[in-house]
């Protein structure tokens, strides 16, 4: 019995020791886990408000070194089409040499935003804006940044590129889309109609409702460029001086004031047309493809594609691979992503995909496909003409394009703005920091020397007063 008790006592000790050990381990683990949580939570909070480098680290997009997933940013009009194409591509289950599945994802991004993103840390590896002019804007800006690193004047100043592997898969000219009765009243199809006729009509006839989209996409940019050309009385050789002369700006301002529905893309405009019909607009600028698509879905209420007699511009939908990896915190495009890019580009230019683009109203890059062949939406249509356009407006230099893109700034009235800032005790800490950030962002948007800024700082009373002055 005593032996049994001793044994029991021995077991109890052993069990107690084991329990103590287990409890110790649990406590240590708990402390470690809690400490980690506290530290990482603290760092997260600190990062949220501190804006330190660690936050930049976590904000930078990342992907595995052997990733074969390619994300493509496409213009809003093309994105739904490319998403369908990507779905078909993904279903092919193509593999890289190391057996990774090649996958393409498409996200919708406005072209101007694509340029901004691509100069920073984009979370995509390829872009497909509506026009190559955005690629040129990106390259120009990228080259400016790289030139500061370039030391030798004797080096060939070519080849520093943010993009590579450019491919075109479909194009479409920009046209003035008008209801058939409106087009006929303007003289279609017997007489050529130009930007000038539309602009004259808009400024003289208050009942005429027309629209172009914002200058952050190609059709809006071209329509606005056409206004500058007409205002300067030129069809080529538009300079910054000519574009910003008072006569030109007055003309552009007068035309812009006739715009009925400003700031949206053509996909939104067609949605409104669907809902409101002829009451919504008489005419608007759009890709030829939009007219074909509308007429396919609404054969009884057709739109006419007017190819402006002074010339137009093409949307050429390039697909370009970004050359990432040269900036801090930026990952390079992986070898597998390059293979996916190549495979996706080949897929888009394959005969089947090219026929699909044609059926959707685009002009395919494959020149062996006849636009007026059997089954083509161009064949037999009186509302679009595959032999047009006959001529294009001259694309001016990037500095003139900058003026056109900022038309709102150049044609609006000069503005006086007072910033009134509360710097009392209640604003201490993150509030004042955030207020400072917001004000800085606002001031950065005040460009040039036409607008004036003033500042009033107050707490219980006025602390500081800066009178109106130009942003310096």
């Amino acid at each position: 019995m005593s032996r049994y008790r001793r044994m029991n006592s021995h077991d109890e000790n052993r069990h107690r020791n084991r329990a103590i050990w287990i409890a110790g381990i649990v406590i240590v683990l708990a402390i470690v886990i809690c400490s980690s949580s506290v530290i990482s939570g603290g760092m997260w909070i600190a990062g949220l408000f501190g804006g330190n480098d660690k936050q930049a680290d976590t904000a930078a997009p990342s992907w595995a070194p052997d990733s074969a997933e390619l994300t493509v940013a496409a213009s809003p009009l093309m994105a739904p089409v490319l998403q369908q194409m990507a779905s078909s591509f993904n279903s092919l289950d193509l593999r890289t040499p190391d057996n990774k599945k090649m996958t393409a994802w498409v996200v919708s991004v406005v072209p101007e935003k694509m340029v901004e993103d691509s100069l920073g840390l984009p979370n995509y590896q390829a872009i497909s804006p509506d026009s190559s002019l955005w690629l040129d804007q990106l390259e120009q800006e990228w080259a400016k940044r790289q030139q500061s690193d370039s030391s030798s004047e004797t080096q060939i100043p070519i080849g520093q590129r943010r993009i590579s592997g450019q491919t075109r898969y479909a194009v479409s000219p920009i046209v003035i889309a008008a209801w058939e009765p409106v087009a006929r009243s303007l003289g279609w199809p017997d007489h050529p109609i130009g930007w000038q006729e539309i602009q004259d009509k808009a400024t003289k006839d208050a009942t005429f409702k027309w629209n172009h989209s914002a200058t952050n996409n190609a059709s809006g940019l071209l329509a606005t460029l056409a206004e500058f050309y007409a205002g300067a009385n030129l069809t080529r050789g538009l300079t910054v001086d000519a574009a910003t002369s008072k006569k030109t700006l007055d003309y552009v301002q007068a035309v812009e004031s006739t715009i009925k529905f400003y700031g949206e893309g053509e996909e939104v405009i067609t949605q409104h047309l669907q809902e409101q019909g002829e009451n919504f607009l008489d005419a608007f600028t759009a890709q030829e493809r939009t007219v074909i698509d509308w007429n396919t879905r609404n054969p009884k209420r057709p739109l006419v594609a007017i190819y402006p007699s002074e010339g137009t511009l093409w949307t050429d939908h390039p697909l370009a691979l970004l050359e990432l990896g040269s900036q801090p915190h930026e990952l390079a495009v992986t070898d597998n992503q390059r293979l996916t890019y190549r495979a996706f580009a080949d897929f888009l230019t394959s005969p089947d995909a090219q026929k699909q683009f044609l059926s959707l109203g685009f002009r395919p890059a494959d020149l062996s496909l006849q636009l007026d062949g059997t089954g083509s939406p161009f064949a037999g249509s009186t509302y679009v003409d595959s032999r047009q356009p006959q001529t294009t407006l001259q694309m001016p230099s990037p500095s003139v394009i900058d003026v056109v893109r900022n038309v709102w700034y150049y044609t609006k009235r000069p503005t006086n703005v007072y910033l009134v800032v509360d710097t009392s005790g209640s604003m201490e800490g993150t509030k004042i920091a955030r207020a400072r950030e917001a004000l800085t962002a606002f001031v950065k948007q005040i460009q040039g020397d036409r607008d004036k800024l003033g500042l009033v700082e107050f707490a219980s009373g006025t602390k500081t007063f800066f009178a109106l002055a130009r942003d310096g």
Binding site: L133, R161, A365
Partner: protein
Amino acid sequence: MNRTRTIFIAIIAIAVLIVLVSLAATRFGGNSADTGLTVARPNAVTIRILTALPIEPWVRSAATDFNNGNHTTNGVPIKVEVVAVDGLTALGQWDRNEFGALPADADPDNLTDEQKKALDQFPTAWIPDSRYLVELANASYKERLGRDVFLTDGEYRAKPIAISLFAWGIYASRAQVLQQKFGDINWKSIHDSAVTQGGWPELGGQPGWGYFKLVVPNPNKNVGGLAAMISAAGEYYGRTNISVEDVTNPQFQHWLSELMGAVTDFSSASAHTADDFALFGYSVGDGGQLLESDLLQNMQGNLTRWHDPLEIYYPDYVTWFDFPFTVWVGPETSAIQKNAALEFQKFLLGDDQQKAALAYGLRPASSNVAVDATPDSLFVKWKDQGVQQVVPRTTAMRSPDRDVLLSLLRWFQLNVAQ
């Protein structure tokens, strides 16, 4: 020690000495094309060929045939990878050493794994548009490394693999009007058309055609843009050798500005100017001086899409491209890669591939093959559009030197691209 033993030891000593001397020569020999990364005998050798854009479709097709043909070097199977890059862009990349050539004092046998991995992508050979681009790259490396990196003589010398030249390609409807107005089509008549304020109606064409639109490749993307400017300078001065003084002459620059003012859009132009020309048709360009092979490859596309054929005219001052196949001789690539590149070079120069080049509008480098040697030769197909089988070389433009090239590029950047 008996005599036999002495002789035996002497023979052994001589053999050891020969081996040591050979090793020393290999180690310190410097410029031999056979130097390179010392690698164990691989199961297969991959070579990367930087290829100029105009010949890339043909070379890529040839590479597919070559890769399927079980070609070997010293018993090792060869795989060819074609990398398309414009000649001037590649020159810029060589210039800035973007491919990562080793410094002159680097020991190729003692590289870290990371350094070796970085050299995996190093080009084994380069096929630029023209020989002068090789000379400019060599000049750049001579300054940096003290030696040529592409040999111009011996077994590894640059060999042209195809030939093409710059010719006028103009839509037939527009060409007829220009010929009626000016007679010949040349840089002078093109300049006169470009500066006509009234555009096509004033030249005798239709009002809908707008103003005269010239097609010139963007020199930032396509070496053909530079070739066009040099060709224009040749005709302006009436000679084939152009100097820095010529291209910096204010009167010439004014004349060139007027010409470039007739180009519709440099910003959206891709590296494939002739493809753009066909895709966008007469709406962006009535005509321009482009590479004959590019024009011929796009003749059918022009006709299908725009129903207005291109016509070809040959200029008085001709710029030729000879597409030299040039093997990198530095230690960044192995001897087996260099030999593999030579095998591919021989394959391209074989009669079969030289004949295949005719379907891409390229003139064969081999004298064994005539331009009309095959039924699918584009020189046969488009004979009626003005393609000449023999073009006199008496007025060939001479290659520009580095200073002329830089002067023209800077002028373009400051006066046209900005």
